[in-house]
Symmetry: C2
Subunit: 153 residues, 2 copies
């Protein structure tokens, strides 16, 4: 049975996909309650920084350090350098990742700094990302800072 918080992160990812965006969702959980949820909004807001995790943290609003330090971040995809750095900035102690097959982020850096990282190998999320990457490879490369091949025509 799928984790209830992961389900919400996947709902967010699917919402992003339906909006024509990058299908990655995230929720911030404190004391078994969701205090922030969001999804990648590069396309929707023309944003260079609103990855799913960043959007969830932004939607959670300004919080004292003590709240972050008792929270868990759920995300449908392995967090990139930016999102991992943000997890470290705020001292979020636990990260639950649906999958890291389509992109492997900074899991080792997180673990080396004491963050508890759990990877679930969720096939629904793997399929969603594979579909998206096949449909929009250039958008995906842009989101992870990878160069797109020049097209001379």
């Amino acid at each position: 049975m799928k984790d209830e918080f992961l389900k919400v992160a996947i709902e967010e990812a699917k919402k992003g996909y339906r909006e024509g965006g990058i299908p990655i969702g995230s929720v911030l959980v404190h004391n078994k309650e969701i205090i922030g949820r969001g999804h990648n909004r590069r396309v929707q807001k023309g944003s260079a920084i609103l990855h799913g995790e960043m959007d969830a943290l932004e939607n959670a609003g300004r919080l004292p350090a003590s709240v972050y330090r008792e929270s868990t971040l759920y995300t449908t995809l392995s967090p990139c350098s930016m999102c991992s750095g943000t997890i470290l900035l705020y001292g979020i102690p636990r990260v639950v990742i649906a999958e890291n097959k389509t992109f492997l982020g900074e899991e080792e850096l997180l673990r080396s700094r004491g963050v508890e990282v759990t990877v679930l190998d969720d096939t629904e999320c793997i399929d969603l990302m594979r579909t998206f990457i096949e449909e929009k490879p250039e958008l995906w490369n842009e989101d992870i800072g990878e160069e797109n091949e020049e097209r001379p025509f």
Copy 2:
């Protein structure tokens, strides 16, 4: 004589201070032109993610990887884990930091990944941050994910 791009980053920091915010500014420079500028907007926008560097990158808009990889990020303060992670995500190869006396970010991580990091020890920026931290220590702690002491009264 002060670097012209650093001057603009300092203008941004001072603008933030005048707005009642956290006085840290940043500019993204490509081919000797400023393509993004910004300042910390935690207070102004109720944001948990708009550090000065993030605001400058967001204001630069969506860019292809090839542009980031030829750019330099100027910032008035040593970049925290979040901002350093973002520099790594986008492969920005050079970071010019006005000072790291009032806060030391992830300079070593950046260097270990091949980023060229220059620290200038700018006294104007040191003074500005010291003044701000003395005036609003709790706001500063919030911004860097540090706990504030509980006040029982």
